[in-house]
Symmetry: D2
């Protein structure tokens, strides 16, 4: 079954315990700060039935239609399709989340291996859960990152309490009881269920922490403490001020706390087999890089676009140093794309369990290049946009009819570009750059280019050239005042 968008939205009105900026929220669908994220995810359900998408997003098996993501990838084609699915939905603006599907795919690998080596039966639980996913079609997410406490200590060696990593505190014939907290869990307020996995390898003493399970998000004992969204505004003001994150950003990240939550055995996918925690964490990572690099194709192409647009609007697109910066951005965007695509086209095959996973080397290269280059991206966008990304006016300034004529007149750029377009491009740049000081700081007291120019003017070129001439025995250096007292080289031959 594939639910409708309306069914999905209705399903969020459940018993979840959720806080936002110090307030408990009784119904998130009524809270404006959540509506962006909810709408964005609801659009996925629209696409599942959209003529341009349904063949890509869903499959039909035994007359049952379900989401392609619930299927374990077995070939390069499956991985390429997974990638296209993510990218296409993202391009349309649907809030596709990979956390859940990636945790599911990882759990499938871990369970298969654990069952084969240790004779456990976790694969049955996973199959049962897949059946549930296919029939009930819940929105799921995956919880990986623990709160961790002292990062220098293992889970079982933590000093203040033992709950810095999610762990099993009890078990009986019906299921297990878990305690702890997961943090930075994306797409949680908009999810119905979640799969919880360890985020690291374990040793035997950590075996209580070796637990993988699925649970409804409104189960007894679960609390969601959301992180603030990117901006304070909502509605049209948010969209104008923050063209990218104001539209779909909303509240999305959560700390999820587990106060002795009960999980029935048919939702437990690992419990105590500490040797396999590493597999689960690693495999989640492998699949989640595929998802992550899709996001990054979107965001790096957007960054290249913002920069190119601002260069044009500012009238500086012909300057060599601007073209060099734009070139770097285009190269960066292309690199993320080429390497991530190659990871799907040339996957790693696990013959023992009949699966294909994104090429480990390639997918990590793609993700690494992105993360390593992110601040360089921002630096270049800030450099090209100018200090205005820090000081640009707001929606309310623009709506004030006394201010607007001044803004319109003085914030104009190249002739032919309406000031409002330039303003929107600047707000988009600002949305990428945030309120951080970085952009401001590279411009205050003069741009990088201004400093280079001043250094070029200030540098003692005549002296430097004379130094080289003296060593190379090229005449003319003795006229240079700084060198006039120096002898020829060597100034004497004794041997």
């Amino acid at each position: 079954m594939i639910r409708t968008a309306e069914q999905y939205i209705e399903s969020l009105r459940d018993n979840r315990v959720i806080y936002y900026n110090g307030e408990k929220i009784p119904d998130i669908t009524k809270q404006p700060k959540f509506q962006g994220s909810i709408n964005s995810r609801a659009l996925c359900y629209v696409l599942y039935d959209h003529p341009a998408f349904k063949d890509l997003l869903t499959i039909e098996e035994n007359r049952e239609k379900y989401l392609f993501l619930w299927k374990q990838p077995k070939t390069a084609e499956d991985l390429v399709r997974r990638r296209e699915l993510y990218i296409n939905c993202m391009r349309w603006g649907a809030g596709m989340s990979g956390m859940g599907p990636d945790a599911l795919a990882a759990s499938g690998v871990t369970a298969a291996r654990c069952d084969r080596e240790l004779g456990t039966h976790y694969t049955e639980a996973i199959e049962d859960y897949r059946k549930h996913l296919r029939s009930a079609d819940p929105a799921i997410t995956g919880a990986i990152t623990d709160v961790k406490g002292n990062r220098g200590l293992r889970p079982s060696a933590q000093e203040q309490h033992k709950d810095f990593y999610v762990r099993v505190v009890d078990k009986n014939k019906d299921g297990i009881v878990v305690r702890g907290a997961k943090i930075h869990i994306s797409a949680t307020p908009t999810a119905n269920e979640l799969i919880v996995s360890p985020c690291r390898a374990h040793r035997e003493e950590d075996k209580d922490y070796a637990v993988v399970f699925a649970t409804p998000i409104d189960a007894k004992g679960i609390k969601l403490l959301t992180s603030p969204g990117y901006s304070e505004e909502t509605g049209e003001e948010a969209e104008w001020n923050w063209p990218a994150s104001g539209r779909s950003g909303g509240v999305s990240e959560c700390m999820i706390t587990f106060d002795d939550v009960f999980i029935p055995w048919n939702r437990v996918f690992l419990c105590g087999e500490w040797q396999f925690s590493r597999t689960q964490a690693w495999m989640f990572g492998v699949f989640h890089r595929l998802f992550g690099t899709c996001h990054k194709v979107i965001s790096t192409e957007l960054a290249a676009g913002i920069a190119a647009l601002m260069a044009e609007y500012n009238g500086i697109e012909r300057y060599p140093h601007i073209q060099e910066k734009l070139t770097w951005l285009a190269m960066h965007a292309a690199l993320i794309d080429i390497t991530a695509r190659a990871a799907c086209e040339h996957p790693d095959y696990f013959e023992d369990i009949g699966l294909a996973t994104p090429n480990l080397m390639y997918t990590n290269i793609s993700k690494y290049l992105f993360a390593d280059g992110q601040h360089q991206c921002s630096k270049l966008v800030a450099d090209i946009t100018g200090g205005i990304a820090s000081t640009v006016f707001t929606y309310k300034d623009w709506m004030n009819l006394e201010e607007r004529p001044y803004i319109e007149k003085y914030l104009a750029g190249k002739a032919g570009v309406p000031t409002e377009h330039r303003l929107q491009a600047i707000r988009l740049a600002k949305d990428m750059l945030g309120h951080g000081h970085d952009g401001a700081f590279i411009h205050t007291e003069g741009s990088l280019a201004a400093q280079k120019m001043a250094m070029y003017v200030a540098a003692p070129w005549d002296k430097y050239k004379a130094i080289a001439k003296r060593v190379a025995k090229i005449p003319g250096w003795k006229e240079q005042p700084d060198l006039k007292d120096l002898p020829d080289l060597p100034f004497q031959r004794l041997i």
Copy 2:
């Protein structure tokens, strides 16, 4: 005369026309968003009379006590004192602004040269203005950056209108009339007067733009459109959420528009002598680098401190890659300091006009290193702090007594560090990093270190080593499956 802090605050209740986020503000001293900046600047007036500071900040001449910054620097000692003055006030938290004093110093140089070469008398106007500064002690700022329009066109060649750079539109025996707009002008809402300078060199056709003058900020025809501050909150909430900018940040940056503003001749320091616009812009830069690098000593030392603190609170201070990152931050902070200090200790002397200015090469190196390294600073702080800099809870979450126990338990770090301290350190890191996606983006789907580890694991080391062994004729490479079909090098000798 040196005014009291109270006199200073009172003086801001004048006729200024000022807008903030779409609203016209009748009295900025009553508007909470402005109070941080005002208080911060008012503290300078406290220091002028503080026993630990007054010998540094003020001088007495002919029984008149006035601010040291009104004096033109003539020696290395003057520059070193100027630097110490800025740094010490900043360290105390007083909102010292260099824009005004630096514009004044630059105007002194420009006027001296112009008068000497062209026989003008601008130095007299400047001396008159210095006298006014000494007796009335207004808070001043300096306006440099024009709105610029198409950056690829000169001022007089702009297409949409001719006011993208401030220019003289009329003049008579009493003074001149100016039109245009200046943007990103710091410390403007907290100032009484401002000195306006060109921001670039001019040719003869741009001579209407070659104008330097001083004016009260509430003169007829001036409007101030402020840029939004760093955060929405005010008061204690702002200070908790944004420990650095929430306290003193407030609203500070302005676009200043000039609707045919009248300037009397005794406040005009350049008017039409286009050959000297370059001197003014350049000299402002030279002095303003000195100020800017003082700020940067403060901020880079703070960044090194944030990172070292977070490393300790997270329990990761012993990891080699963390120590390497901390080392870079310490080196960066030291470099800014060493080079900026050397610029004062080894100044450039202008014998024609008897002045000393910060060493052009050194001061630009200092500023360049800072700006060029700013995003690297942020990257390292984000890397060490962790994803929590993006998702950390707010003041209101912390004040909610249902949420607090969870936050207190789960956001604890190393034993012995109260969670609230860790929270405050994280909020400080977030304040540095802003709401930008950069920090989040380097952590989502795994940290940089995680990717490197995965690549190290995935790389075909045996193959690579076998390749090297084959070339170096070291036995053992033939066992490597990827190379097993390759011949020795050279596989045959024909000659």
Copy 3:
């Protein structure tokens, strides 16, 4: 026809005028400094008939067997095969040169376009030349780079003489007469013929420089001035001292001078159509990137191997900073490979002329990453190998039986690795790094790691942490001596 290796070697005994280090060489096949290059290229002829290679390297058409490289690529498959052909021959150690085939492919594109637009008939000359290549099987090279004179002036605007770029000085019914010089032309001493192309775009005034042609290398008026090889030694000593370049390096690069050389019309592929010089230079570049990136796959994998081997031999392969450096090298090698392969798999198609060329963006990314990262590669290899890459002993030291016991004892590394193996690996590293000071200079007075450690120790961490605590309002900073006189922030509230 495909010649034998012996026929090829014999063909080099022609009338060529060639100089090496100040001597005119009557028969290069007798000169030891040339034998490495000659043997290496002769091995290609062995491979043309080798069972493992012939299906890859040659094609048969109308019962005529000829080199696959003489065929113009039309599909992604053709490009992938071209790439495999180059890489496989290089891996075997055969001295495949791409200059000639790439110039040929470029000439095919240029001629097709010029003929179509201007009604010329250059394609006929090219077809005639291809026929000659298929039947006579000469070894060819391509000459692109001109000597250029003042790089700031166009060819026809050069001041000292007009021959800084190869140009047509005369023409008649039989052919044209050319003058000028080409420089850095690889694979020339080992070639029989060469194709000459412009290296830049032209304007109408440069039309005499718009010339493409083929010629035997021993034509009247051609002189070859070779560049020195990488080392002085020859034979076994060269191979021991320089395991990579000592074997096949030899003399390879030439300046080729043309003293009014006659070229018949059936070898002229462009003459005066200045609008197409750009096409020729650009297309040569596009094809030659494909070749170049094959070389770079070989050399970056070798660099990763050298570094991994030296890390192991030195016993440092477990240190995190070493693993980080190795990871960079592996990532770099993989990136060159992924991007260059993607350029062939996803080519640009030119439908007007029915051709496929390597994807312009991807192939340039691959080449750029290589060149941009080359010095970083060398830095990391030098860093891991140690100062010994600068000071390692020679073949003659090793052969001296008084020295050898000392070398054997003291240059041992990790137990289990024969000293000679370590020596050979070091010599290979040295061969990559050359005699340049770079490697020595990063180690003299202590390694980079030593400096970082010292800075970490020297940095004022307590002060920095106290600075951050003060801003974050975390108690404890007042105990820090450097801060003890500072007040709380803000030290007073006035408003």
Copy 4:
């Protein structure tokens, strides 16, 4: 006493056992490969008595004149003088070596501390040695780096033998017996004596390795295995081909082996006090950074000069990207200088022993910046010089009168620059860059600038800009073919 240059040269004709490239050298003053280094060091003795230098280089105490370097620095002025002394001698071309004086200074600190804490009497031995230095004036060097074996194991844990670090193998009432080898020891063939120090910290089990001593270089049991010089040529050919290293380079680096060498107690400065090995190694480093950074001022200014000269000779000095590269080189040179000078001006004081040492943070920053930037320096010099640095002709080519006219004509650069000057500048660049492939590799198949240009041309700017416009809601993006099927954002509002 200060010896004459002749006395110094005569003193090298002693019993030293020395090998060069497989040959035992009976008298190094007769071997041309050694004469450059010897002459260069002999020039120091000329300067000691030179009117422009003697006040800087020597001091007189109790009517005894001796080298300033034998005095332990106690103040900032001493350190500044030490720095000036090194830099001035280097600028004149005298082969000043810091290894010996720096080892001496370090030994003074170590002995003072060890004596104070453990009641030993090493300071007496050092004073005795200083007396010997003042009266006999030998040329000394310092040996630090051990051969090390497996770098992952401590000295006493080495597996193959115990001599990878120099150690005491016997001791009696007269002295001690040492065994082991030191490597990369500069200035050894030209020295008379050497001071041997550990290169690392020790634990108690390594106490036999905790030994510092001085010895004549021709003592029984010492063998010197020299490393090859930078080039094969000698005399005028060497100087023309390698303008910097060909003149003074020669053979300089040694592996020094100790076959049970006897050291009398009055030359033993530490023996078994393992706690102080770290002090010795560390202090040597601190002093040697001062020396090293002097060298680096010389070499970075030279690199900036070479690049500026080549830019001019090639006619490219006006291109923005060239100016940007030159600016980096000038900034780099200035940074090394500023930071190293500041390390002397603001030293660390050790009040316990009354000494001043270069500021630990600053001196390491200076050295680190140099080493870290060395490959960047080379990359920029190679980039600006061009591929010709790899393929430039030799002295013998230039001397061949058939080749010279071609070289003279075709290797000319900008008009007004004699070709020979350009050749000499290129040879100087090549001397800096070495025969390594780095320079060649960044130019083969096109320069970095060419790749950037191609990528700029190839990048899909219209698509990128349309992507940004769509997000920013700026009209016009739907016309872009790649985006034409995408909906507005959000494509639907469900909530």
